[in-house]
Symmetry: C2
Subunit: 502 residues, 2 copies
Amino acid sequence: MNSIEDSIRLFKEQLEKIRAYGHAMGIMYYDMETVMPPAAAELVGDTLGLLSEAEYRLQTDESFLSAMNEILLHPDEVDEITLCEAKRTNEERERIACIPVDEYVQAQIDQTAAFNAWQKAKLNNDFASFLPHLEKLIETTKRFALYYKPDAPVYDTLLDQYEKGLTTETADRFFLQVRSALVPLIEAIQKNGYQPDTSFLDQPYPLDKQRELTRYLMQVMRMDPERTACGEVEHPFTTDFTKNDVRITTHYYENAMQSSMYSVIHEAGHATYELNIADEIARSPLGTGVSMGVHESQSRFYENIIGRSEPFIESIFPKLKELFPAQLEGVTPHMFYLAVNKAEPSLIRTEADELTYALHVMVRYELEKKLFDGSLKACDLPEAWNKLYREYLGVEVPDDTHGVLQDSHWSGGSFGYFPSYAIGSAYGAQLLAKMEQELDIWAFVKEGNLQPIMDWLTERIYRYGCRLDPKDLMEQAFGAPFDPSYYTKYLTAKFSGLYHLS
Amino acid sequence: MNSIEDSIRLFKEQLEKIRAYGHAMGIMYYDMETVMPPAAAELVGDTLGLLSEAEYRLQTDESFLSAMNEILLHPDEVDEITLCEAKRTNEERERIACIPVDEYVQAQIDQTAAFNAWQKAKLNNDFASFLPHLEKLIETTKRFALYYKPDAPVYDTLLDQYEKGLTTETADRFFLQVRSALVPLIEAIQKNGYQPDTSFLDQPYPLDKQRELTRYLMQVMRMDPERTACGEVEHPFTTDFTKNDVRITTHYYENAMQSSMYSVIHEAGHATYELNIADEIARSPLGTGVSMGVHESQSRFYENIIGRSEPFIESIFPKLKELFPAQLEGVTPHMFYLAVNKAEPSLIRTEADELTYALHVMVRYELEKKLFDGSLKACDLPEAWNKLYREYLGVEVPDDTHGVLQDSHWSGGSFGYFPSYAIGSAYGAQLLAKMEQELDIWAFVKEGNLQPIMDWLTERIYRYGCRLDPKDLMEQAFGAPFDPSYYTKYLTAKFSGLYHLS
């Protein structure tokens, strides 16, 4: 008979081993996206398969399970962090323990192959070559969701994975509300006919100066150089291995400096969350962002609410002028503010403006729902994609590279992730409203000092890591239930102002 | 009772698992040297410790051992590759199985800490902060060598690890022979007083153009872009994870383009070896270079014998002129050839010319011998280092950053590696002599076609991987025993010509 101390010790030792495997695989994924030469994909898939098998066995090990159960059965005898670790770890265990190990391993191998196939397919505008991989991923995702919750609708299980508690019903309601507010606003802008001058953005901005801008923005975003790095990739993302190693990535386009500029601020927003988790849980499974919705609330808060605000642009404008004197000759901060907020239906989600962005998400949400209720086949995705872009955004998709192949998420088996972007944007607007009551935020932003804002968010969100469920965490931060009308009101006010709508 | 087929299957499955751990740890080491932010060092050390423990257990597992023994006991019933795999794997197992697992794991953790401490120490010219790490590494290296071969001199055991069969006695004789030839040659050059014009190298060469030169040189070196990558680091190295993922690295200095140019050719030489291993052993433990001596024979062959030859410079000169028209105005290939072969005693091994290079190696060899026979303490290394640089090269070491802290090897626990550089250089000269008998190599080099040379070396060396011992491999390639006089004759002829010595 083990004492509770023995159980805790065994539990923590095993957690540390599981952490090590996650760390190694995470570094391999990072490497795959940043440096790995293409021919190594198969080898990497096999290695990830074998490591994930070892990790699976650690997570589903009997002695680990019984130690965890001991902790869960004696909540009064363990500290709060350990108890919370046991709860989260057990949730994660339940999600995977229902999958036979060989299927679990095969899924890792398939995912690596799919990601690499997608990269090539996008490059060559060749959906057909990606299709078999996609079909397999969808089939596996469906099967695993049903192993876990045989009686729940598959897409609900998927949504819950990225934003605990989110269901199709809630998401439908949310998107309906957002769409009802956005569509008339976008129509009014198009009818109105005015568009800001963006010609100064359509010039070559030297890459080495853009890299210097990244370094500057990382400072503005208070990214500690001892704990962070920035890589260059085709599709920017952020990854973290504890708060001591948080990496953002970006992509430079010579003729679109705003692309890298805002991707850096977006990714630095993700990083800020991870960098400010409490030290006491830094190495624990609790030591990371709680959900993709909350994560995107931060990245999109800094990118759009802060980064695309006039005070922020005023604060960084001297640096922009210093780096790009010729390109920005005669340009004022106000002109730059108007240009980077130009609202116009477009093809690419990651380059979309703040207003039309949610429509891009809705396209993906509608398609995912249908993929998982069986009413849409993967082979019909390009046609369905193009149709919805026509319907929601009024744009014609010229090819799959600029259509259904544009995002990496599906190739990594992430189905149900996209709604987080819109939910996160809405979280951000409600956080702003609360923050404005307590903090003179625009005065800080104008002087280029984001620290008080980050401190406010650290106190209410970042430091908790996964200790609270996303719903509880956000309600605590809002001091009220989640209310998407903050988001629609925020967008209406901002874009009515920008486009002189009455 | 298992059949031999069962043993082979079990053996191969376990080899694949061991490969996966080696792969993951290799990627983590690569990441540590290229992107990891400094604060993550401890975390990475712990993860590497846990993975190395798992790898150790796989390598020393009883059922694995008995499967391997079955294979070794029935050489007639297994194919030659499997038999060879069993021999090599058993050698490696014997080297580590004598080390208690906790000491083995701790050594991995200590090594990561030492590497990161050395990076800081070198940056801050602070040997004292590195000393405790170095002392621990030396102590551990000594202890492990004695576990493995309790009755052999420690330094012999270390030499053998990097170049199987090499002993202090052989190395002493080799270095004596080399030194006897080099010292009078270097003295004659210094007495003679002539030095080539190198002023055109002392100019700013834009980094983006240097990066373009790297891409060009990688093409010249036939590096398949599907299977290779080039990263930027402080201390260039090459790493490989099968022949499908071979990565070189370099460092750019604006005012020393030749530094990156020759480091790229050197590292591409290592890569060429790995890229041309036979497919049938690509994933096997046999699928990598057999020893550091043979590896350095290739890197230094391409860097110096080919890369610093006049025909090679003639072949790449149009590209150099295209990239650096202002810097190379009025410069001829012959002037460039003279400049990059300027022989002059200096402080930094990796920047040393081909002639004085071996003296840098000898300094390290003499110090390592003394560290491991107990006649030199780690704390006295800086003084001993500076003394030998004065004695062998006639230069005054200004600080430890340019002295004892310059190389990364010791910080990674690599003691006994350095002699490989000199032995490898000598191998290269003897290979050249043999190749010249069979191939009109300089005609190929002059037209920028290195393929026939690589084919010749693939046939005789690369394809074998670790299937032959280095001694047998090289003797087979030479068609004769190893003879260092090829090296001394080669250097004498080349530098007598360059410096107009009679």
